[in-house]
Structures are given as structure tokens and as C-alpha cells.
């Protein structure tokens, strides 16, 4: 599976990052890069991740992350990296 971009958007509080990273580590999804900003109290985080070693399918990871987001009150989205590379790189 190709690299994916995971975005997390929601109200900032302690432990958002830990919970997302724990899920990724438990499922053998490697994190290549993380950036994060806080805009008006809202947490904006982006990860470039590599699920190549993960036994889970894209669909399963995407669904799990969405559920995790609902549980901790943030919105988590996973997309294949190419859409961003195509749009912003010549």
C-alpha cells in the first residue's frame, strides 16, 4: 500500500496525539513525518504514514481511525498521499 496522509482536526486537549500514535503503532503503521499547528484553539495535525507493514486493509484502518476520532472528539481522515502530491507538485 502507498503512503497515506492522516489528518486530525478538533478541539485541543491532552493526549490526542498519544491515542492516534498508539493505534498506529499497535497496527504496524510507520510514521514518516508529523506536523502540527494550533489555530484558534483547534488542533490541526498531519502525519505522513506508511501502512506497508500493517496487516490491515486501507478500508479497515480508515474506519478504525474514524471511530477513534469519534471516541476522542476529533475528526480523523486518511487519504492516499498522491492526491496532494499531484495537486501541489509539478
Amino acid at each position: 500500500m502507498q503512503k497515506v496522509i492522516i489528518t486530525v482536526v478538533g478541539k485541543d486537549y491532552v493526549g490526542i496525539m498519544a491515542k492516534v500514535c498508539t493505534y498506529l503503532a499497535d497496527n504496524k503503521i510507520n510514521i514518516n513525518d508529523i506536523s502540527q499547528t494550533i489555530v484558534s484553539g483547534y488542533f490541526n495535525m498531519m502525519m505522513i504514514a506508511d501502512p506497508a507493514q500493517s496487516p490491515l486493509s486501507f478500508d479497515k484502518i480508515e474506519k478504525d481511525l474514524e471511530e477513534l476520532g469519534e471516541n476522542i472528539g476529533v475528526r480523523i481522515k486518511m487519504q492516499r498521499e498522491e492526491i496532494f502530491a499531484m495537486m501541489h507538485r509539478i
Partner: protein
Amino acid sequence: MIHISEVYETNEMIEKENLDVRTITMGISLFDCIDSELYKTCDMVYEKICRKASKLVETGERISKEYGIPVVNKRIAVTPIATVGSSACKDSDDYIKLAKTLDRAAESVGVNLIGGYSAIVSKGMTPKEEMFIDSIPEALAVTTRLCSSVNVGSTRTGINMDAVRKMGQIILDTAKRSYGTDSLGSAKLVVFCNAPDDNPFMAGAFNGITEGDAVINVGVSGPGVVKYALEKVRGESFEVLCETIKKTAFKITRVGQLVAKEAAAALDVPFGIVDLSLAPTPAVGDSVADILKEIGLEQPGAPGTTAALALLNDQVKKGGVMASSYVGGLSGAFIPVSEDQGMIDAVNAGALSLEKLEAMTCVCSVGLDMIAIPGDTPASTISGIIADEMAIGMINQKTTAVRLIPAIGMKVGDTLNFGGLFGKAPVMPVNGFSCEEFVSRSGRIPAPIHSFKN
């Protein structure tokens, strides 16, 4: 490495500015389904469409999920049916059987529209093609997913005025035949000049005779994205305005290119083209009219509208061509009335007339699109409107089209409501002076002098 701001920008476009892939359209050749027995032709047509497009919808949905971008429509375009049925069909009723077969196949594979109930009669009509055209009103009334188009002229052949005259009556008959559904049949019938073989957008999509066995063509959209980008450059020079449109068009088209390649690979069908059109929908914030307003017009239709649209159309093309390896189809800004809330508002405000829309079609893709006219408009007047629009296409070497909806039993000021993608159309006034004698002449308008390029 992708930057967080780029991710944010892309997702804003998708979530707030209505960026989407409007359609993945699979073109399917039906030449190998031609037979002299109608039941055999129907069986082969059904089987081939179901076989080729069996994974079209699920592939579109998978791509949508993985990239996080809506793929709004999955559709099919087939070889013009007038040709496919010419051996098997002995009368108009036989063509109706083919229409029902197409509708059934479309339902079976789960696409919402299928195009190609079409005839290419730019220079002349065979008796079978006349028979086919006669079947259109009934075909569109007894099917739900079928779309029809007739190409009646081209720069190379001139305009087939016999076909133009016939289509005036057919449009009227189609509206009458689908009276119970607000004349929805006419919303699925397009008359073309210089129709492209690879257009992925309905209702005018068909798989042209120049195409291979199957092909994937993709139509992107994103009027909202352009509108939001222009909000940030209010009051700036034309240079800044044009650069902003170009850059935005580039980004939109890149997404189309990505999706087209991905879909073609997944379906094991060659990639054809990306149609880099700005196609509005009735949704708020998905309007070409709003872009024109953002450029500086109080309402579309105001003086300056044609220039603003010309500028927009040109910059969309300039930005888009570099983003895709193959562009085609209609590629430009669409200006349908019923499918664009801003256009509807402009008509209701008295800013936009049929004549101004005609002028606008000289500088953008397609033509007089999704316009409701009074139900008592004579067929000859509809033919006259078609002839004008075809002349614009023929002389300017561009595609033009007419999709008029005679609102049966309605008058100016009333509104047709199709619902969904087709939107709603305020009935617009039509010039009441007659062109009966003009369109009653037989034969064709010769090809223009600049078509002789050999």
C-alpha cells in the same frame, strides 16, 4: 515532502468549496453488437455493457474513499445507437427496444445515466437515422437513465437544416411526451454542432466512432474552488485575476488526471481524456455565475459578461492543459441555467436573457443549456434557435449545443422543477417573431470557407 498547509488547502477545497470529480464515464463501443436480428443486438448490447462496466461503480467508490474526494457520478457512454441499430431496427419501435435495453443495462451496473442514444447527421440523414430520431420522444419517456443527442452540423460539413427542422419538432414532442415529469425528457436531449467523441458529461456523452473498444474519460469540476480563490484577489489587476484562475484550474485538473489514471488502471481500460470543465450544480457555492459576480459583475447578463466569461474560459484551459496529459471533451465553463443557482437568480432578477446567453456561448464551452421556454413556442422557432447556435459552432470551429425544455402549459415567470442534478428552470421569454420560412427551406447550409484547409 507534503506540507501541512498543502494538505489543509486540498481538504478545504473538497470540504468547503465543493471540489469533486464530477464523473467517471466509461465509453463502450457497441460496433461488435451489430446484427440483423434485433433480439440478438439487444442481448449483445446488454451483455457487453454489463461485462465492461461491472466494476465501474465500485471502482469509483473505492477511489473516492482512498483519496477522500467525492466521485459524484459513474456513467456510461456508448456508440451512437442510430448506427448500432441500423441493421436490426425496422421501425421506430425497434429502436425503443434498444433504448429499454440500454436503460436496463445501466440499472444493472448501477450507473445513474447512460448516454449514446444518439445520431450523427451533420450532413445527411439515412432513412434509419430519421426513424431513430422519430423514436427519441418515446425513448426518453419510457426510460429513466437514458440520454440522447443528435449532432446536426460541423465546421467541416456545414449544418444539416433538414435535421435542425426535425429536431425543433422532436424537442417539442419530447417535452409533451414527458409532461408528467416537468418535461424532464427534454433535459436529457442535446442537439450538437461539432460534438466531441470523448465528452464524459451528460446528457451529450456518446462513445464516438473514433474511439476504441472501451475508454475511461473523466470530468472534473470545481466552480466553488475558483470562486473562493478569486475572493482573495478582489480589486486586483487582470493579470492577478488570470493567474489565480490558471493556478486553481491546474490544481483541479490534476485531481482529475490522478483519478482518471487510477480508474483506467483499476478497470483495465485505456485512459482517454480529462475534461477540464467548470460544471456547476444547483448546490450553493457550486456556481459559475458566482465566479462571474466575483470577477466584478452585479449579475451574469450585465454588460461585460461575455468578456468576463471569455477570460474565465481561457484561463481554465490554460491552467488545465498543463495538468493533464490528454485533455478533451468539452473543456471549458458550462453555463446551464437550471443547474446553477446563480444563473437562476440572474434570470429571475431580469438580468439574463436568451440573447445574452447566446452571446456567452460564443466564448465558452457548449451552448444554450438547460433553458426552459414557454410551452407554446412553435417548433419552427425552436429550430431557429438551434440553427443560430449551430452557426456559432460551425463558424467558430467549436462545440455548441442546445438543450431547451419547452415548459408545456407554462408561461414566462413559471418554473419547471426537475429536482436533483437537473435543478429547476425559470421559463424564459423567446423572441416572438417568426422564422418559419427560413427553417422550412430544405437541404443544408454549406460548410464555411475556412473549413477548406486541405
